[in-house]
């Protein structure tokens, strides 16, 4: 008997993982022929007799009747004369580890992507898909729109002709009045304007920080001891002017975050009260409206204001307006130069 062969718990169905040994039909020392029943096994679906694969002698009974055994694990060992086709790869199932199947995305389809994160509460309102997209883009609350489409659905027509919420309209009106008054007051201030174009690349926080730094270097041109940079931001209710206090003293990263959160708040008409006072200079960025320049607004009690516009394909136009009571021509030019130099270095 030259071969030792373990007779294992066989896999009898596609889903079977273990089987129960019912009983042995042989004992140690028995001689068996190929095809003789060795033992019976059971799963919840099937009972089966397991036969000897070849002539031989029973050497060891490995398991006990009643035991639950994993498929592929030995139940008894027999010695055989002929070589049995048996493959024991460490007793472990060679289930190959496959990468998880990747869900295939068809090329033309993409998940719907809202253009900006949507803080607008537009559930419980029926609107055509494009109206939702547009409302989110424009920051419009769909609950304020009157629906004329079938089944009370807001159509694009409804959105485009929207009557704004009266409370919103009131605030918008108040804002406009504020700006109008500002222009009136501006007229009374003796002022001059300069402008320069620059190909420097800068974002809002960098501009705010650079301008504050330039002003900080000229305390002789200041009315106040602090620096407060007001930035005009479009909000739900019209223009808002949040003030960033001493922005040159913040780390640029911090300032960036502050600008971002303030802009978001402004869009929703929620700038904190503390940020609405203390401006010593104002920045108007009209590139957002694709403009090159605009009428400068110089508020009383502020020595300077900046207007940023387009000047060509990759150039910006920076225009500085100064209150001649506190700053003369030459100093004004120096300030603008210093700012442009600083922005170019960014």
């Amino acid at each position: 008997m030259s071969f030792k062969y373990p007779v294992v718990m066989p896999k009898m169905s596609m889903t079977m993982e273990t089987g129960e040994l019912i009983n042995f039909h042989v004992k140690v020392g028995d001689h068996v022929k190929a095809g003789d029943v060795l033992f019976e096994v059971m799963t919840d679906k099937i009972d089966m007799e397991v036969d000897a694969p070849a002539d031989g002698v029973i050497e060891t009974l490995v398991a006990e009747p009643g035991a639950v055994i994993e498929i592929g694990k030995p139940v008894l060992i027999m010695l055989t004369e002929t070589q049995v086709m048996a493959f024991d790869f460490g007793g472990e199932s060679e289930e190959p580890a496959l990468a998880a199947p990747v869900a295939q995305v068809v090329a033309e389809i993409a998940a719907p992507v809202p253009p900006t994160p949507a803080p607008i509460l537009n559930e419980s309102v029926k609107a055509v898909p494009k109206a939702r997209v547009e409302a989110t883009k424009r920051g419009i609350d769909l609950r304020a729109i009157a629906a004329t489409g079938p089944d009370n659905t807001i159509t694009m027509h409804d959105l485009n002709n929207a009557q704004v919420d009266p409370a919103v309209a009131k605030r918008q009106k108040a804002n406009r009045a504020l700006i109008a008054k500002g222009i009136e007051l501006t007229r009374a201030i003796p002022q001059a304007s300069f402008s320069r174009s620059t190909s420097a690349n800068f974002d809002k926080p960098s501009l705010i920080a650079a301008w504050a730094t330039v002003l900080r270097a000229r305390p002789d041109l200041a009315i106040h001891s602090h620096i407060g940079v007001a930035v005009i931001i479009e909000s739900k209710y019209g223009s808002a002017l949040p003030v960033f206090k001493d922005p040159d003293q913040l780390a640029l990263g911090e300032l960036k975050t502050l600008v971002e959160t303030t802009s978001q708040a402004a869009k929703n008409g929620k700038v904190p009260l503390a940020m609405l006072t203390g401006a010593t200079t104002t920045i108007f960025d009209v590139t957002a409206y694709s403009m090159n320049s605009s009428t400068p607004l110089l508020f009383p009690n502020q020595v300077t204001s900046l207007t940023i516009g387009h000047a060509g394909t990759s150039e910006k136009n920076i225009s500085l307006t100064i209150d001649l009571n506190f700053c003369d021509f030459y100093d004004g030019a120096m300030l603008l130069d210093a700012l442009v130099a600083s922005l170019t270095k960014l």
């Binding site: 033309e108 389809i109 993409a110 998940a111 719907p112 494009k130 489409g149 079938p150 694009m156």
Partner: protein, 328 residues
Amino acid sequence: MLTMAEAIREAMSIAFDERPEVFLLGEDVGIYGGAFGVSGDMYHRYGSERVLDTPIAELGIVGAAVGAALSGMRPIVEIQFSDFTAQAMDQIANQAAKIHFMLGGALHVPMVLRTPQGSGTGAAAQHSQNLEPWFASVPGLKVVVPSNPADAKGLLLSSIDDPNPVIFLEHKLLYKIPGRDPVPEGAIRIPLGVSKVVREGKDLTIVATGIMVNKAWEVCEKLAADGISITLIDPRTISPLDMQPVFESVDKTGRLLVVQEGPAHAGFINEVIAQMAGSVSFGSLIAPIKRLAGMNIPIPYAPQLEKAAVPQIEDIEAAAREIVSLWR
């Protein structure tokens, strides 16, 4: 101008001349000239070696086509009514469609199965079905639905060229009529998997298949007179489906109407809607997507019942007008 049957016959003849391994088999395709006259005089021109009359044995003849395709021939098998593809479904769906994949690419099945489908001839329920969803839902089959003679010719030549099994569904009512456009001469080929923008407009996008393309065309003409301009798209190939022109058009028009003759439930046209609903172009819609399709009933016999079972020109017109007026 050539009719659809003549255009298909011309395509088969061109294929026969180009490649000696192309042959036609089916019931009554030989001496009789085809139940709908499509093969016509091909038996006399090419002989019984290449135009084989078969007994009534759809499973056997489609299976023989599969075996012949595996062995170097390019069979065109004609099944007399699309309804009878049911008899042959094992060979179509379990064999032809799957062989290339199951066998790891070792073999492929360059076979075209042509069959007439559709209602309107009073042939009743078992001879009038639109079965493109059966085939479109089986991976491994290409499915083509021509709407006019010129397209039929060009698409059939490409189908014969294709190394994969192609199900070519011809509408019975279109066989005997010419199309709007003349059929170009010679071996023209239209690639599979490319949708056609039949006309362009800005107010509404209509996607239609088969005979509905022609009905939709009539509607487009009528509404143009009232200042409503419509983009009409004919996918031509059901599977694989080219949705790109549909997305581009809906981005412009914002309104989508889909039209098919087959029953609405689980029909092919729902694939167009599903893909639109999951795409970025969904955000361009200013109206809900409207679907016109056959009633979920077997096709009835009496002519007024048969008509009522599927969309007619009036239905398409009403739907188009309604979408444009209700959703501004």
